[in-house]
């Protein structure tokens, strides 16, 4: 029962969603199931939160290495969660928008969450620069093509690109670097993206069928779990 019921649920849900496409009166089912999916996903967030408390709580309780940082995680988590769930300092109280101007949730978002998140991604600029150094060595034909494409895209989006080829007459505007960058994005790049997308689509379709038909059961984990 522990393994059979989930396989049956997957089959019924998957099959109903596919069949609903062919029967317009049942099309609403697809919308409802998407909403159900979102609702269960919220519980998954709470499961993640519970897991976070368990792991970091254990670390603090056992005084493991770097336990003080776990305390930081838990403090940030609890303060932000309280601000969000109880809508602390929200001008419209519990009925107001969770991110209303002036609320503690919005303040924490703009002064802690946003700076941390965007700097974390901005940090990647430095690592991308170091990766560029390794990638931008034209060791063979393929690497040279990659280098030229990336170089044109980068140059095409800076004033230098406009300045360098601004003299090219309008009837040959394809050769102007900004236009060449646009052309690369809309033609060869599109062709490559499309080939990848078609490949991914075929993979997703076959994997979906394997899941619905119960051939693929790895998501259920091992038996003794």
């Amino acid at each position: 029962m522990k393994r059979q019921v989930p396989v049956i649920i997957t089959f019924i849900v998957g099959a109903v969603l596919i069949v609903s496409v062919f029967f317009p009166p049942a099309e609403r089912l697809g919308e409802n199931f998407s909403v159900f999916f979102d609702i269960i996903a919220v519980f998954a967030f709470f499961l993640g939160g519970g897991n976070l408390i368990r792991i970091h709580g254990n670390k603090i309780y056992r005084r493991q290495k770097d336990w003080a940082f776990s305390a930081v995680t838990l403090t940030g988590f609890i303060v932000m969660l309280a601000a969000g769930l109880f809508k602390i300092a929200n001008p419209n109280g519990i009925t107001g928008d969770v991110a209303a101007t002036g609320s503690l949730f919005q303040t924490l978002y703009y002064n802690i969450f946003y700076p941390l998140g965007s700097t974390m991604y901005a940090l990647l600029a430095f690592y991308v620069a170091s990766a560029s150094y390794r990638a931008f060595r034209a060791k063979n034909k393929e690497a040279t093509i990659l280098l030229i494409a990336a170089f044109i895209i980068l140059l095409g989006r800076t004033p230098l690109g406009v300045y360098a080829t601004g003299w090219v007459p309008e009837s040959f505007s394809l050769l102007q670097i900004p236009n060449l960058a646009i052309w690369i994005m809309s033609s060869p790049n599109l062709a490559g993206q499309r080939a990848i997308m078609i490949g991914i689509a075929l993979g997703v379709i076959s994997m979906s069928l394997r899941l619905i038909l119960g051939v693929e059961r790895t998501y259920l984990g091992v038996d003794n779990e």
Binding site: L47, T73, V128, E142, A149, P188, Y219
Partner: protein, 267 residues
């Protein structure tokens, strides 16, 4: 006390002094109050803490990283709770809770107890005895994803992409003269438009051949596969260039915050 500990204390004291002074100086400026100044200083401290990783892993980075984990988990939980749980579930099961939370009631629907029950089952994952019940919720999630994605990918990523690849290879033919006299990207530039369509058709075809592993890549098939690699290399190069631009613009945003909002050096 060893040298590294002394250095740690010195750096900590310097950080406290710098950010403390920053708080007081910004707070004392016209148009600012102490609360705003404190918040800007905290944001600047966190930004610099993350950037300090460029030197090496250090306690300030670890502090910011751990804080980010906790805050982001709580952020998504809160947003999910208010937008989906209160916004989509309660209006279907409880009029009194809808009144309390100030959301419009949409009529009772018994089927909405299914996600509620499956959601509670999912939380059973935290229990060692009842953990197996969470597989039912997982099965629902997997079934929904598989059912929705099968149709979605078949329609948008397979059928429509294949269909859009079959494009006219010579567009709006007006003779050899006009064809070779205009190399612009505009609507009148027949050459560029035809070239684009050739590149798209041949590029997709060769790209797919590269991904086809049931036949050895030799002879004409091998040449096509090689061309497929070149097309994919252009795609990766373009994506790389695009990613670099995106990351650099984020970095510029953070530097603008530091030099404009915090230090006030850039007007």
């Amino acid at each position: 006390m060893n040298n590294s500990r002394i250095w740690s204390i010195v750096i900590f004291a310097a950080a406290v002094l710098i950010f403390g002074l920053s708080w007081i100086i910004i707070g004392s400026q016209a148009g600012h109050n102490l609360t705003d100044a404190f918040l800007v200083t905290v944001a600047a401290f966190l930004t610099l803490s993350i950037l300090s990783f460029l030197y090496k892993d250090n306690p300030y980075y670890k502090f910011a990283e751990h804080l980010f984990v906790g805050v982001s988990a709580a952020y998504w939980m809160s947003v999910g709770f208010w937008s989906t749980f209160v916004g989509n579930l309660l209006p279907r099961i409880s009029p009194s809770l809808c009144t309390y939370f100030g959301v419009p009631y949409k009529g009772f629907d018994i089927f909405f107890f299914i996600p509620l029950i499956l959601g509670v089952f999912l939380l059973m994952r935290l229990s060692s005895k009842m953990g197996w019940l969470s597989r039912w919720s997982l099965a629902f999630i997997v079934g929904t994803t598989a059912g929705l994605n099968l149709i979605r990918y078949l329609r948008s990523d397979f059928i429509s992409q294949v269909s859009n690849t079959f494009v006219p290879l010579v567009t709006d033919w007006r003779g050899i003269g006009p064809f070779f006299s205009d190399f612009s990207l505009s609507i009148t530039g027949q050459f560029a438009m035809s070239l684009s369509n050739w590149v798209i058709f041949v590029g997709v075809f060769c790209g797919l051949i590269y991904f086809f592993f049931s036949k050895e890549h030799k002879g004409a098939f091998g040449y096509a596969s090689r061309m497929g690699i070149w097309v994919l290399m252009i795609t990766f190069g373009a994506s790389f260039g695009y990613t670099v631009m995106g990351r650099v613009s984020l970095l510029v945003g953070r530097l603008t915050f530091l030099f404009h909002d915090w230090l006030g050096l850039v007007k």
